[in-house]
């Protein structure tokens, strides 16, 4: 059995996808100096699917997540999440600097309507998930970049959502912490039956986590290829099959970096 299967682009939506992106186009800038960040992107994400998006810098990955999260309006096309709650973890931690680590998570819980008496336990639980219980009372500026990113992950997980968008969440972490975060993300994805869209530069990370990988092409940003990762879970970064799938993804990414006419 092959570990990586090229799949047909999901132009024809399957019955009841969780996220349906159709002909999505986004143009930034004023007339005369426009940047086409996304051009006719169509992807549909199944319920409880773990979708990874890889693609070189500037091919519109963050823009696409922003549009799914309703933070940016598309120039053309549409995104349909069927009224589901969307959570998002951004490329930068963006913690609230006036709140402590606990305070940041507490606010996220408060905003998703968790009662005050339940919040204390949930904060503790979330901090343990990201292995940061010991910095609960510290302020964001007192943490390392990787710690901040993990607090941001805890804060993202604090919200009660069905769709989770993650924009290069683990790029700043050391290998050991990152492996732990992969396990936690996978566990939470399973436990809460989330649909995850995960952006990364790291093809190995994509092979480790994804059910399906979308490779995007730059200038303008569009879908290059889609592949199913059929390696059974649990997986690890060191798994030779993960390495092999990563190598294939790497090749796909590189053949697409050729300037196309």
């Amino acid at each position: 059995m092959s570990i990586l299967k090229l799949s047909e682009p999901s132009l024809v939506a399957q019955p009841g996808p969780t996220i349906r992106i159709t002909g999505l186009t986004k143009v930034f800038g004023r007339r005369g100096q426009e940047t086409t960040a996304l051009s006719e992107v169509s992807i549909s994400v199944k319920e409880q699917e773990f979708l990874c998006i890889v693609g070189r810098s500037g091919c519109g990955k963050s823009t696409m997540l922003n549009i799914i999260a309703d933070l940016e309006t598309p120039t053309g096309g549409s995104v349909d999440v069927g009224g589901r709650k969307v959570g998002m973890m951004f490329q930068d931690a963006n913690l609230f600097p006036w709140l402590t680590v606990e305070g940041n998570i507490d606010l996220a819980l408060k905003l998703s309507g968790v009662a005050a008496e339940l919040r204390k336990d949930r904060i503790q639980e979330l901090l343990e998930t990201v292995q940061l219980a010991h910095v609960a009372t510290k302020r964001p500026h007192e943490l390392s970049g990787g710690m901040r990113q993990r607090v941001a992950l805890a804060r993202t997980l604090a919200q009660d959502c069905e769709i989770l968008l993650m924009d290069e969440p683990f790029a700043a972490l050391d290998a050991i912490t990152r492996d732990a975060m992969h396990e936690q993300t996978e566990r939470i994805w399973g436990e809460r039956a989330l649909t995850v869209v995960f952006v990364t530069h790291n093809v190995r990370e994509a092979a480790r986590l994804a059910d399906r990988v979308v490779v995007m092409k730059p200038n303008p940003g569009r879908v290059g290829s889609e592949s199913l990762i059929t390696i059974p879970r649990p997986r690890t970064m060191e798994d030779p099959r993960v390495a092999e799938a990563a190598a294939l993804l790497h090749d796909m990414l590189h053949t697409q970096e050729m300037p196309d006419d």
């Binding site: 922003n66 999260a69 933070l71 969307v86 959570g87 998002m88 951004f90 930068d92 963006n94 609230f96 600097p97 006036w98 709140l99 606010l107 996220a108 408060k110 905003l111 998703s112 309507g113 302020r139 964001p140 500026h141 007192e142 804060r155 919200q159």
Partner: protein, 285 residues
């Protein structure tokens, strides 16, 4: 195979070194206190020099020692304390009302596009208006009353405070707003949990500036609006001038300066505390 690519090398552990220099509380206080103290000493010395060379007659420009004497006499006089009480009460009421009005107007302007285009630039315009220019009109409106003074204080201080709110809210990082939006903060909750806390440093800067304007307006007001039954610091300045009591006049001026500086330093300390807690302190390179 790994052994060839990655070869572990054992190195001797580094010994701990470097004794930390302990700084006592006294030394730290001294380090904070000596620069302003030095400045005061220099000013007093220059003053004494000017007096000694006889630039002006001694009954117009008294020596620091004479003013010191007048000051210490004044400080044990109950009439001074009641005048000070009146002035401080006015400052407190005027500034309090300014904070209330300035904050409300600031929030309203920051929220509404129509209000912003209607009165946004008016607020900035009011800030540049010298408050003393309001007094003739205020006296016409209210007569020689407390209201006339309060009216001018509020006109002087509220625009700065409103501006602090508006610029604070305008400068909230769009990325933080996005995070909050995704977390489910909308409308009032966005304001309460994100915009207002994020705008706090700028608001505090507005309060500090508002206080400076309020204190100036109050002093101008007490010079112009002298209410017979109510002695105040400003009225006492005027009386001392009329009786040509130069040491007494300068003593009151010192009190006015000290109060202004003290209140300002309270605001500065609060603002610095807030900034430090957010990691916004000055970086020394």
């Amino acid at each position: 195979m790994t052994d060839e690519l990655v070869k572990p090398r054992v190195s001797a552990p580094l010994t701990e070194r470097g004794a930390r220099v302990e700084v006592g509380a006294g030394a730290r206080l001294w380090r904070r206190v000596w620069p302003p103290l030095m400045a005061v000493v220099i000013v007093l010395a220059l003053w004494q020099v000017v007096v000694t060379v006889g630039w002006r007659p001694i009954y117009v420009l008294p020596a620091p020692a004479a003013v010191g004497g007048a000051l210490s006499e004044m400080l044990v006089d109950p009439k001074f304390w009641s005048a000070l009480g009146t002035t401080l009460a006015r400052a407190f009421i005027g500034f309090g009302i300014s904070v209330l009005i300035g904050s409300i107007i600031g929030l309203a302007v920051s929220r509404s596009r129509i209000l912003r285009s209607a009165i946004g630039s008016l607020i900035t315009g009011l800030q540049t208006m010298p408050s003393i220019a309001w007094f003739p009109f205020a006296i016409l409106l209210f007569g020689l009353t407390e209201q006339a003074i309060t009216f001018v204080i509020v006109l002087g201080a509220a625009p700065s405070i409103a501006n602090g709110v508006v610029s604070g809210i305008d400068d909230v990082s769009p990325q933080l707003q996005r995070v909050a939006h995704v977390l489910g903060a909308r409308g009032m909750r966005m304001y309460r949990y994100v915009m207002i806390p994020a705008a706090l440093p700028s608001y505090l800067a507005g309060l500090k500036q508002g206080w400076a304007f309020a204190w100036r307006s109050l002093m101008a007001g007490e010079l112009l609006v002298i209410i017979a039954a109510r002695p105040s610091l400003g009225a006492n300045l005027q009386f001392n001038r009329e009786f040509a009591n130069a040491p007494g006049l300068l003593a009151i001026m010192i009190v006015i300066l000290v109060i202004g500086v003290m209140v300002d330093s309270v605001f500065t300390r609060i603002a610095n505390g807030v900034r430090t807690r957010r990691g916004m302190g000055v970086v020394r390179l």
